[in-house]
C-alpha cells in the first residue's frame, strides 16, 4: 500500500508534477502493483547474492587515448535554449 502523502513525496523525488486528479489514481495503481510485488517477500532469500549483471564480465577497460569529441555548437543544436556556449536555465530559486 502506498498513500497520498507517499505519492507526493516520491513525485517530488522524481521531479514529476502530478495534477490533483492524478494523485489518488497513482496511489491506487501503484498499490495494486506493489501488492503483487510484495509476494517476493515470502521467499527465503537469506544468503542469495543479488544479481546486477547477468553475464560474467569484469573490469572492462579501454585504452586511455584522447579522441575528438563533438564541437560545442553541434551539441547545443538540439537545446531548447542555448546561450554563450552553454545551456541556459532559469534560476534555481531559493
Amino acid at each position: 500500500m502506498i498513500d497520498r502523502d507517499q505519492v507526493l513525496h516520491v513525485a517530488r523525488l522524481a521531479r514529476l508534477r502530478l495534477e490533483e486528479g492524478e494523485i489518488d489514481r497513482m496511489a491506487s495503481e501503484l498499490s495494486s502493483v506493489l501488492d503483487h510485488i510484495e509476494k517476493i517477500s515470502e521467499l527465503e532469500l537469506g544468503d542469495v547474492p543479488p544479481t546486477s549483471h547477468v553475464i560474467d564480465v569484469e573490469n572492462v577497460l579501454r585504452a586511455d587515448e584522447p579522441r575528438a569529441s563533438w564541437p560545442v555548437e553541434r551539441v547545443l543544436e538540439p537545446a531548447p535554449d542555448a546561450a554563450g556556449g552553454g545551456f541556459r536555465v532559469p534560476t534555481p530559486g531559493q
Partner: protein, 483 residues
C-alpha cells in the same frame, strides 16, 4: 512481379539482388509506396525514408529495414514514442543501425512503439496506437508493436526492435512472425534510448527464422562504445536443420500450457507444437523453474528502478521538450509532467519509490536476489535439456483498450518472456498456429500463437537451427495478414 517480390523472404530477396534477378531499387520503391498507401490502416510508422541512400547492396542485398524509433538516427527524428522527444534529431546513429546499413540494409522508416519501450500493447505510444494486421480492433503487442505490425502487414521485409521483458517476442507472437531476443551483450546497445540497461537488448523481427539469423549475423559484435557488449563466440551460420534428433526440450511446469492465465486456445497450439517436436525426433521432458512465477514481481522492481534513473536525463535542458518559466525546479517538473505519458510516469514513480530511503532492500535488494534464483533455475534446467519451451504470450492479441485501465493485467502479458530477460538468455518466438481468443470474437480463422524457445547464454546458433526445423514442419503462412 511485385506481389512475388513481396512474398519472398528478406534473405531470398537479398539472394535475388546478388544474383541479379531482383532490383534493389525496385524493392525499396515497392515498400516505400506500400507504406505511403497502406500504413494509415496500421499506424506502424512514425517516419519513412524517401530513398535508400547508399547503392552498395552488400551481404544484405539492399533489402530495406524498418527500425524501432528507440534507435538514434543522425539527423532523423527519434522520439522513443514519447512527446518529450517530439522532433528530436540525434547527433549520431545507433551501432545496430549503422552496422545493418553498412551490410547493405538501408532504413525504410522508424516504427511506432510504446513510450520508452514501456508497454505490451503499443497503446502507450505518444503518437497513437498501432493496429494488429490480423484484426484492426486488436493490439499488435508491444513495445516493438510498430516493427511487428509492419512486417506482418507486408510493409517491411524485416525489422529490428528491442526487448527488455518481452518487447520483441510478445509482439512477434501476437502478429504471427518471428522475434528474437539475443543473449544480453550479444548486440551493442550504443545509441539505443535506454530503458532498463541491465535488460535491454536489440534483436530482429522477421517472417522467417533464416531472416532473423541473417540479421543477427550482422548485428552481433563487441563494441567499445558499449562496455557490456561481448558479441557472439562465432559467426552466425544460417539454419539448415531438418530433424530435432538428439535435442531435448524442457517444458517448465510453471510456464506450460496450464500455467496461470494461458488461454485454452494458446495451450492447444502449444501442446500440438510439442507433438511436432516429438515427430521431428526431439525429446520433450518436464523441467522446473520454481522461481519463474516471481519473474513479473522482480522485473517490475528492477526495470522501473533502472528506468527512473535513465529517464532523469529528460529535464528540458539539453534537448527535447521544455515547459515552464518559473524556477529551475518548476521547469524540470512541468517539462516531465507534460512530456511523459501515464505509464512512463507510473514506472518512474514505482522505480523511485523502490529505490527510496527505507525501501531499497525490501524491494530492489530482494528483486535482485530473486533474479539470481531465476537465473539459477535456468542453469539447473539446462543441465537436463537443451532448450526451455513455453507459449510466448499467455493470450492471443487482445482488443484495443481491454487492459489500459489495469496496469497489472497488462504486465501479465510478459509472464512467459520476463524470466528469460532476467536471466539474460536468448529466446526466439516463432508462429506456431492460430487460436480463438478465450472470450470469443476475432477473425474466423483465429489469431496467431507464438511458441518460445529459450537456450543457454550464447546458444543462438543451435537455438535458431532448432527453431528452423520446427518452422519448416509447422509451415505457418506469414503472408496471411498482408494488406
Amino acid at each position: 512481379m511485385s506481389s512475388d517480390l513481396l512474398k519472398i523472404s528478406a534473405a531470398e530477396a537479398a539472394e535475388g539482388v546478388r544474383a541479379g534477378t531482383v532490383d534493389a531499387g525496385e524493392l525499396f520503391a515497392l515498400y516505400r509506396d506500400r507504406i505511403k498507401d497502406l500504413d494509415d490502416r496500421v499506424g506502424a510508422f512514425l517516419w519513412q525514408a524517401d530513398e535508400a541512400g547508399t547503392s552498395d547492396p552488400g551481404p544484405l542485398g539492399g533489402v530495406p529495414i524498418a527500425v524501432k524509433d528507440l534507435f538514434c538516427t543522425e539527423g532523423i527524428p527519434t522520439t522513443a514514442g514519447s512527446r518529450i522527444l517530439e522532433g528530436h534529431r540525434p547527433l549520431y546513429t545507433a551501432k545496430a543501425v549503422r552496422d545493418l546499413n553498412a551490410a547493405g540494409a538501408p532504413m525504410l522508416g522508424k516504427t511506432n512503439m510504446d513510450e520508452f519501450a514501456m508497454g505490451s500493447s503499443n497503446e502507450n505510444s505518444g503518437f497513437g496506437p498501432v493496429r494488429n494486421p490480423w484484426d484492426p480492433e486488436r493490439v499488435p503487442g508491444g513495445s516493438s508493436g510498430g516493427s511487428a505490425a509492419a512486417v506482418a502487414a507486408g510493409l517491411a521485409p524485416w525489422a529490428i526492435g528491442t526487448d527488455t521483458g518481452g518487447s520483441i517476442r510478445q509482439p512477434a507472437s501476437l502478429c504471427g512472425i518471428v522475434g528474437l531476443k539475443p543473449t544480453y551483450g550479444a548486440v551493442s546497445r550504443y545509441g539505443m534510448v535506454a530503458f532498463a540497461s541491465s535488460l535491454d537488448q536489440c534483436g530482429p523481427l522477421t517472417r522467417t527464422v533464416t531472416d532473423a539469423a541473417l540479421l543477427l549475423r550482422h548485428l552481433a559484435g563487441r563494441d567499445e562504445c558499449d562496455s557490456t557488449s561481448l558479441g557472439l563466440p562465432e559467426e552466425v551460420t544460417l539454419p539448415s536443420r531438418t530433424s530435432l534428433e538428439g535435442l531435448r526440450f524442457g517444458v517448465p511446469r510453471e510456464l506450460g500450457s496450464d500455467a496461470q492465465g494461458v488461454e485454452p486456445g494458446v495451450g492447444e497450439v502449444f501442446d500440438r507444437t510439442l507433438e511436432r517436436i516429438r515427430e521431428l525426433g526431439g525429446e520433450v521432458i518436464d523441467v522446473g523453474l520454481p522461481h519463474a512465477p516471481h519473474g513479473i514481481a522482480a522485473y517490475y522492481v528492477i526495470a522501473p528502478a533502472e528506468a527512473s534513473s535513465n529517464l532523469a536525463r529528460y529535464d528540458g535542458v539539453r534537448y527535447g521538450l521544455r515547459s515552464g518559466n518559473g524556477t529551475l525546479l518548476e521547469l524540470y517538473e512541468r517539462t516531465r509532467a507534460e512530456g511523459f505519458g501515464a505509464e512512463v510516469k507510473r514506472r518512474i514513480m514505482l522505480g523511485t519509490f523502490a529505490l527510496s530511503a527505507g525501501y531499497y532492500e525490501a524491494y530492489y535488494g530482494r528483486a535482485q536476489r530473486v533474479r539470481t534464483k531465476i537465473a539459477d533455475d535456468f542453469r539447473s534446467a539446462f543441465g537436463a535439456c537443451d532448450f526451455v519451451v513455453t507459449p510466448t504470450s499467455p493470450t492471443v492479441a487482445f482488443e484495443l483498450g481491454a487492459r489500459t485501465d489495469d496496469p497489472l493485467a497488462m504486465y501479465m502479458a510478459d509472464y512467459c518472456t520476463v524470466p528469460m530477460s532476467l536471466a539474460g538468455i536468448p529466446a526466439v518466438s516463432i508462429p506456431a498456429g492460430l487460436a480463438e481468443p478465450s472470450g470469443g470474437g476475432g477473425p474466423p480463422r483465429g489469431l496467431p500463437v507464438g511458441f518460445q524457445i529459450a537456450g543457454p547464454a550464447f546458444s543462438e546458433i543451435l537455438m535458431l537451427d532448432a527453431a528452423f526445423a520446427l518452422e519448416q514442419a509447422i509451415g505457418f503462412d506469414t503472408t496471411r495478414a498482408f494488406l
